[in-house]
């Protein structure tokens, strides 16, 4: 990445907050900003950014996804890393965006340039070798592999590496790589199947008696949070940014 500070960290990054974080989990955004600023990195959030277009793309509305991203391309231009706090949006920007403009060389080139700068939050934190988070997560922490980070971006290491810096006791969640049943529109088109998958996920966290269930995608969080409160489960759900920022810091969920 360009504009790097002497210690191999970029001076600033662009934060792609994602629509779900913006509207449902603003704390995740605050925790992310806290972490980045703690690393002495200036965070830029262009307010015109809304959504990566994944909901459209995943439901067969490629044209709509293209239009949505097209209106945001100019906001993503530049040469600083683009941080996504979510594997699925990261995958959309990194892997799908460059394929959306086959007939428009100008947009295609822009898209490719943007895609090359996108990086998921935990990957970024590992890349800049951030080790001091200044907080600890007491109790038992388990990590749920969010599907798009795991198989879309091929990443299962960095979330665990990051968590190991703060978690007092991190254990592997049984079947951690099994989908939680969210899948975007899937969870409302096939609610019973989705809920059965969700139940399996929550049960496996309960079986190991986890204190914290950590996910790296606001999509999974939306789903898992709904299931946890319906079951009145005592498991507490965190986004990886919140887990790393730690208790009592910006972005820590109310009531935890």
């Amino acid at each position: 990445m360009a504009i790097e500070s002497p210690d191999n960290r970029p001076k600033r990054v662009l934060f792609f907050a994602t629509c779900l974080v913006d509207q449902f989990f603003p704390e995740v955004g605050e925790a992310t900003v806290h972490l980045l600023e703690k690393a002495d990195i200036e965070v830029i959030f262009p307010e015109g950014l809304t959504c990566c277009g994944l909901p459209h793309f995943n439901n067969g509305f490629r044209g709509e996804a293209r239009k949505t991203l097209e209106t945001q391309l100019h906001l993503l231009e530049g040469d600083i890393p683009i941080i996504a706090p979510s594997g699925s949006c990261g995958w959309m920007l990194k892997c799908v965006l460059p394929t959306l403009f086959p007939d428009d060389p100008w947009a295609r080139e822009k898209a490719a340039q943007i895609a090359g700068r996108v990086i998921e939050l935990s990957q970024f934190l590992c890349q800049i070798e951030m080790r001091e988070f200044g907080s600890t997560l007491p109790g038992k922490t388990v990590y749920h592999d969010s599907c798009h980070l795991l198989r879309g971006l091929g990443e299962n290491q960095t979330p665990r590496q990051c968590l190991d810096h703060v978690a007092e006791n991190r254990e592997e969640l049984p079947n951690s790589d099994r989908c939680c049943g969210f899948g975007g529109s899937f969870c409302v088109k096939f609610p019973e199947v989705s809920c059965a998958m969700l139940e399996d996920k929550i049960k496996s966290a309960e079986e190991v008696d986890a204190t914290w269930l950590v996910a790296a995608d606001a999509g999974c969080m939306l789903n898992i949070a709904g299931g946890l409160s319906r079951r009145k489960s005592k498991i507490k759900l965190l986004h990886i940014a919140q887990a790393l920022a730690g208790p009592h810091n910006p972005g820590w969920p109310e009531g935890y």
Binding site: A2, L14, V21, D22, Q23, F24, F25, P26, G29, V33, E42, I44, F45, P46, E47, G48, T50, C51, G53, H56, N58, N59, G60, E64, K67, G78, D79, W91, C95, P98, T99, A112, A115, G116, C147, H148, L150, R151, G152, L153, G154, R178, C179, G181, G184, S185, F186, C187, V188, F190, P191, E192, V193, S194, C195, M197, E199, L222, G227, R230
Partner: protein, 706 residues
């Protein structure tokens, strides 16, 4: 009104025995698959190679099919092609009528399921018998398969027992072994008298005209050996260019399907029985079924043809694990079925299936040839949108959502309103609502839209601090074109979507596991799949082994192939055994069927898998290693090859030779006949031998005995 998939899913979800069976089966298979690749030198490279073979095949599919047809015709195989199910059925019936066929034995064939062949046969007064244990159970129950490799996984032991009592034997017990024996006896009779055998094809090797079957029970061998007429049915996707490619695919198929290094039988059929051979069909037909396939060549869905039907994606899929195969209401269920079904039957019939996936990607991760199922699910969803095959409401909502997303102001205002609205809505109320909110609330509390969005909080924070946002972002230094290309390339590589990243196909030969001593390795592996391999140090030892083994079958004759490394027939006759020798002038299937033990040589053995390779030929009937309950192979130590791939040149020299020298059949035999179709219990001796023994004969003893 819940959709058809949902209705079927809901009944599957409350079917407790089904849930238990699914959990046990898919979990077991997935687990075994994960370990099966540990026995290869470079699992990912092997899979990448297999993918490359599949990809390249479809680059020149026309050429390969032409080669296949030419070679088949030169071998005397009748080749038919059927554009659709009706013509396929007509062709099969014509062949059956010509030979006055009354009963047909079938081994598993997805293509014949596709065209509902059994109903057509029955309507024409011909009785078909499914002979795969699982398929036979389903035929008795009048049900369809629910899994690619374990068709009857949805049936519990109790259900099978009840079925057998009602339809086969009122006294059937509850032991899977006993139930299997009942099936063996009943079906053996049918095998021996059937006029025609119908099978599927796993691989059709273009360069040699070889039709390959991958089976465990032995029914595939019986179906293609005993009846005078053999009809194989397949879609064009089964074609594989070369014998060596086939061996590579064989290295990944059973591992991905059942976790075995090799299945009990890999059968390579190359034309009808040769004149000097004792058994095998006199007439062989290959029926190529199009059935909606060719229109997808050259489209984004062509990749679905790379599938080698291992079922690994089904076992890995959390949706399949939850609802089972019948919920997909198609011959092909699970992830690959959600592509294949709309491809073959149209979006109008199966358009809902591509949506019934959370796109988690576990399927592609598990797939031995990395079929990019998630990509095709997306393309299929898009095709549906473009064709306006999905609900009007869905199209409308997504268009609206798109408009909102493109107007940050509307976006923000909309959510502010939503936030207020959502304060008044709880899940109990929402659960009664139609549409997505109601669906969400079925098992989940509603998410709360934040009172203050992130962008609002951001603005407040900025107001508190120094505003440094937009200006800084303007400092853009465009990357050089080269850098851009490099970055793009990286991005597209990742688009493959695998938890283990992108894998390149290695150039040159694949790495193989180290086999320092073929005899030692063979003995170890053979013991793992069958029995301890016997290692004599003298001719007397061999005599003792053979006589001891035969003694267990005192009352029965012994079938002995010609040209064994050590002649054993004399010893047995001295001891008063009735010896059945190969016959070339008549069918002695009944005599062989009465034998308790069949003794064969071994043309090659494979150390890494403990397999015995037998080629048919004069004095080497296929049935000696198939009909008796025990099979004993005399394995010359010199014939043990280290790897499956070492067999490549040998197969080429058999099958690529001029007419007259070649063999009609080569079998790779790995352990006894087996099945786990009844309640996942492993049963040996389903249709073929229950026991396989090997005597490794050192070179010195062979020389001495001759």
């Amino acid at each position: 009104m819940s959709s058809p998939f949902n209705q079927r899913a809901n009944s599957a979800l409350v079917n407790i025995p089904l849930q238990d069976a699914l959990q046990a089966a898919t979990g077991k298979f997935a687990n075994q698959r994960a370990h099966a690749f540990e026995s290869t030198a470079a699992p990912l490279a092997l899979r990448a190679k297999a993918r490359e073979i599949r990809r390249k095949t479809f680059d020149e599919i026309d050429k390969h099919l032409e080669t296949l047809f030419t070679n088949l015709q030169n071998l005397g195989v009748h080749v038919h092609s059927a554009p659709d199910a009706d013509s396929a059925k007509r062709i099969v019936l014509e062949i059956a009528r010509k030979h006055n066929v009354e009963t047909v034995v079938k081994s598993k064939s997805m293509a014949s399921e596709e065209i509902h062949l059994n109903q057509a046969l029955e309507a024409a007064g011909i009785t078909p018998y499914e002979t795969d244990l699982g398929e036979w159970i389903l035929q008795l129950a009048n049900e369809t398969p629910s899994h690619l490799v374990a068709p009857a996984i949805h049936k519990t032991l109790k259900q099978v027992q009840d079925l057998f009592r009602a339809k086969v034997d009122p006294n059937a017990g509850s032991d899977p072994q006993e139930l299997t024996s009942i099936a063996r006896e009943k079906l053996r009779t049918e095998f021996l008298r059937a006029g025609m055998g119908i099978s599927g094809v796993n691989f059709a090797v273009a360069e040699s005209g070889t039709l390959c079957l991958v089976t465990n029970e032995g029914n595939g061998r019986l179906v293609t050996t005993l009846p005078k007429v053999h009809v194989a049915i397949m879609g064009f996707e089964k074609v594989v260019p070369t014998l060596r490619d086939t061996l590579t695919l064989l290295s990944v198929l059973p591992r991905s399907a059942t976790g075995q290094k090799l299945t009990s039988y890999f059968t390579m059929l190359t034309g009808p029985r040769r004149e000097n051979e004792a058994d095998g069909p006199d007439e062989v037909h290959l029926l190529l079924l199009d059935g909606g396939r060719s229109r997808h060549l050259g489209t984004p869905f062509q990749e679905a043809f790379h599938c080698i039907r291992c079922g690994a994606c089904q076992n890995a899929c959390p949706v399949f694990q939850t609802v089972g195969g019948h919920t997909y209401d198609s011959v092909y269920g699970g992830p690959i079925g959600s592509i294949l079904s709309p491809m073959l039957r149209g979006l109008e019939v199966s358009g809902e299936l591509p949506a019934a996936s959370s796109l988690c990607g576990a399927c592609m991760d598990a797939c031995p040839v990395f079929v990019d199922i998630p990509r095709m699910l997306l393309e299929m969803r898009e095709a549906r949108t473009v064709k306006k095959n999905n609900a009007l409401m869905e199209r409308f909502s997504f268009r609206m959502l798109g408009m909102v997303m493109r107007k940050p102001f509307v976006w923000e205002t909309g959510f502010k309103l939503g936030s207020v609205f959502s304060r008044f809505l709880n899940a109990k109320v929402a659960a009664w609502l139609p549409g997505p909110l109601g669906a969400w609330a079925q098992g989940r509390e509603l998410p709360r839209i934040a009172k203050k969005s992130f962008r609002t909080r951001w603005r407040e924070k900025k107001r508190r601090g120094v505003d440094s946002s937009s200006a800084a972002n303007g400092v853009s230094q465009a990357d050089s074109p080269d850098a851009i290309i490099e970055k793009t390339h990286h991005a597209l590589e990742l688009a493959h979507g695998l938890s283990h990243g992108h894998i390149d196909c290695p150039d040159g030969p694949l790495p193989e596991i180290n086999v320092p001593d073929t005899v030692v390795r063979f003995a170890t592996e053979f013991e793992a799949v069958a029995n301890p391999a016997l290692q004599p140090s003298s001719i007397d030892d061999i005599r003792e082994y053979v006589l001891n083994m035969a003694a267990k079958w005192k009352e029965y004759p012994v079938a002995i192939s010609d040209g064994l490394p050590v002649e054993v027939a004399g010893w047995l006759m001295e001891e008063g055994f009735d010896v059945i020798s190969p016959s070339i002038d008549g069918d002695n299937r009944d005599a062989i069927a009465r034998c308790g033990i069949g003794i064969t040589g071994c043309d090659w053995a494979i150390a890494e898998t403990g397999s015995i390779v037998l080629r048919s030929g004069p004095g080497h009937p296929r049935l000696h290693s198939l009909l008796p309950e025990t099979h004993l192979a005399l394995v010359p130590a010199n014939n043990i090859l280290p790897h499956i791939s070492s067999l490549g040149p040998e197969l080429e020299s058999i099958f690529k030779q001029e007419e007259g020298h070649s063999a009609s059949c080569v079998n790779i035999i790995t352990g006894p006949s087996r099945s786990a179709d009844i309640a996942l219990t492993l049963i040996k001796g389903v249709h073929g031998p229950r026991d396989v023994f090997a005597i490794i004969v050192p070179d010195v003893l062979i020389a001495r005995s001759q």
